[in-house]
Subunit: 406 residues, 2 copies
């Protein structure tokens, strides 16, 4: 008789965004005339940039003609896109990353979720708290944790992000093998300085650990002294994998395109102590479990890296950052502490009350959907996340409503 | 110090299609004037159907307007597509499958590779021989096998497909938990009868095993007495998962759309012997590791299920089947035994000599690329696979060249 992977049963029964959706549905059912404004989930609202749309159509047109039709492409993606990414996102910022170190995919959720497959089940894993749940849940399903107790999984090392450390975690006190980091952070919106990142890179080099660095929101960085990529930090090429996405900068949440950077030279040990290149392992994994990203989507994505595309993406992120500024200003005016919203589309508000209570208050009294902080971990207690992904008018209206109830 | 997943090192060093590509490149370098005809890899060559192209463009257009723009969609896919699939591919053929049992994805390679994650590492796995390498390799990486020795991985049960059983495997003699089947088969092109499938379904019900049924090529079935879906077999809903793809029928190898059917009621046991629904586990897995298929691609795929789309897909598969018939007739005329090519785009030829020798002969003397059978497993020795995915003119020319050298 076949048995299941027992680790799946360790997962917390409910998924944060499902819980939220259910409460919103219940509210709308009870209040059919109230218009709810959503500042909850991190989904974009604005159309794809012009340059992307033209390239997308052109890509579809190529599929109409036998001479230009594309079947299976390289699992790691076409060189035309990988080369533009390497140049624009890395080399032009002084980060030494080449096109063949870039693996395209259909999402950072997949990549950050799948990458742990390359490592031993004995790897000691450190995650921030609060945290994007995918890093944690995929390690749970993979079998690297004990049961869920008292808001945390046994066996994981939680890197606490609290008001007193400015929500930037301290280095782990115990020895760890795998460290997940995300900057600009989801959910807190804070950004680490070069010096703060350098400390993590140095630790990883000392301990021969690997950093899985999620930079999905780096297009929102406006303070040019801050690092856009972990590869701007000396030595990071030896110890860090970076995840990037076109979801939040170019509006690809429904179109799907992301990439993972696996520099040659990042290694982990086999049982005999030999160093094995992660680049080789990820290539093995991807060539056996992935069939490449849709060709017209790759064509569409390549337009992001044209001069027009870069301008249009900048305008899109400026648009959301303008919303973020408005949220941040209003929250501070109301007397609450918050971080984020300057180099990030998220604002992390210390509500000084239970976060589901705060969520319910904003939903039921103001008709505004937020995300309760403790859905992201124990250190999220007392906080909510507000997202800048909406129209300016909606954000304005939401802030007026919030002002009335807080 | 971080350690790798040691199971990755068990993988055979080389991947079949990479080996083939290298030999082809070497041949072309040595013979720059010879035009090579590829009947090797199973990649389509003809443009997307008209109906699909229009819907694809319309889907892209929706992304241009804030009012119709789509961000994150449901991880399992939009109902508009899942409902059409359930109706057309199952209900209209008498198979009781509903839309909410269908999970869309970007490829059957991903789905057949990922599905093993749901099961215990102790599960005893049976695979056909010859076999699509993804089923085997993903179980190797997952940790369900011993080392590779003498052409096989220890710990797997190989279901032999030989000339003397008509390339339809006998039931396994030992008890197994997970059975991979693929019909119409890749690489042999043979199709199982209802009675043959029924025996596997009955075995799975008796032993509480699960069948992972890959029906990626079912659109090529022309003998209407043959089952298109395993759910046409009584009792299969309790024990079978089915994988389908739009790659080979609608030409989506470069566009990417597939789906997996997980009927409610297929269960496996937890450690305490409770039955757990695989539908629930797959939903858990997909919602944490996948972010849904590109919206314009879902829109494009939905056109496959319109009246025009169905006609155009039929014309496409007829086109390739006509090539297959030509290959089959010529191979038989040359005095070689073969199967497939009637309800499948593949022809499996018994070359009665080492399959790499046969491959090299066809490449070097005829300038035709085939796939050597032993790349698919021990029972593939002595065979080659010829694929019908090319233009009729190229297939005709290839058969003339082959006739001259054999």
């Amino acid at each position: 008789m076949i048995k299941i992977n027992q680790n799946f049963l360790k997962l917390k029964a409910s998924y944060l965004f499902v819980d939220i959706a259910q409460r919103v549905v219940a509210f709308q059912k009870a209040n059919p005339d109230r218009r709810v404004i959503k500042l909850g989930i991190g989904d974009v609202t604005e159309p794809l940039p012009e340059a992307v749309l033209s390239a997308f159509h052109a890509g579809v047109d190529e599929m109409a003609d036998r001479a230009t039709f594309r079947g299976y492409g390289p699992e790691q993606g076409y060189p035309f896109l990988r080369e533009r990414i390497a140049l624009t996102d890395f080399q032009q910022r002084g980060a030494d990353i080449s096109a063949d170190e870039i693996f395209l995919s259909d999402g950072s959720k997949c990549d950050t979720g799948n990458f742990q497959e390359l490592f031993s089940l004995e790897a000691k894993v450190a995650v921030p708290d609060p945290v994007y749940p995918v890093y944690v849940d995929t390690n749970v399903m993979g079998g690297r944790t004990g049961p869920y107790r008292d808001g945390r999984y046994e066996g994981l090392v939680y890197l606490e992000c609290r008001p007193d450390n400015g929500y930037i975690p301290d280095l782990p006190e115990e020895s760890v093998d795998l460290i997940y980091l995300c900057f600009p952070n989801n959910p807190t919106g804070v950004m680490a300085t070069r010096e703060q990142l350098r400390q993590f890179v140095d630790l990883a080099r000392r301990e021969k650990a690997i950093i899985l660095y999620d930079a999905a929101y780096c297009a929102f960085i406006r303070d040019e002294s801050l690092p856009h990529s972990i590869y701007e930090i000396p030595g990071a090429r030896e110890v860090a994998i970076e995840f990037r996405s076109l979801s939040k900068n170019a509006g690809f949440t429904g179109t799907r395109c992301a990439y993972t950077v696996v520099p040659k030279g990042v290694t982990a040990a086999d049982e005999e102590g030999n160093e094995v290149e992660l680049h080789h392992l990820w290539m093995s994994r991807q060539s056996r479990k992935f069939n490449g990203l849709s060709y017209p989507v790759q064509r569409a994505a390549s337009a992001v890296y044209t001069e027009d595309g870069q301008k249009q993406v900048r305008a899109l992120t400026d648009f959301y950052l303008n919303n973020a500024k408005l949220i941040r200003r209003n929250i501070l005016r109301l007397g609450f502490d918050c971080v984020g919203g300057d180099n990030s589309p998220y604002i992390w508000v210390n509500m000084e009350r239970d976060s589901w209570t705060a969520f319910d208050l904003l939903l039921n009294e103001a008709g505004v959907v937020s995300t309760p902080g403790d859905g992201f971990g124990k250190c999220g207690k007392g906080h909510i996340r507000l997202s800048a992904f909406n129209s300016y008018e909606n954000v304005e209206a939401a802030m007026e409503r919030i002002a009335r109830v807080l």
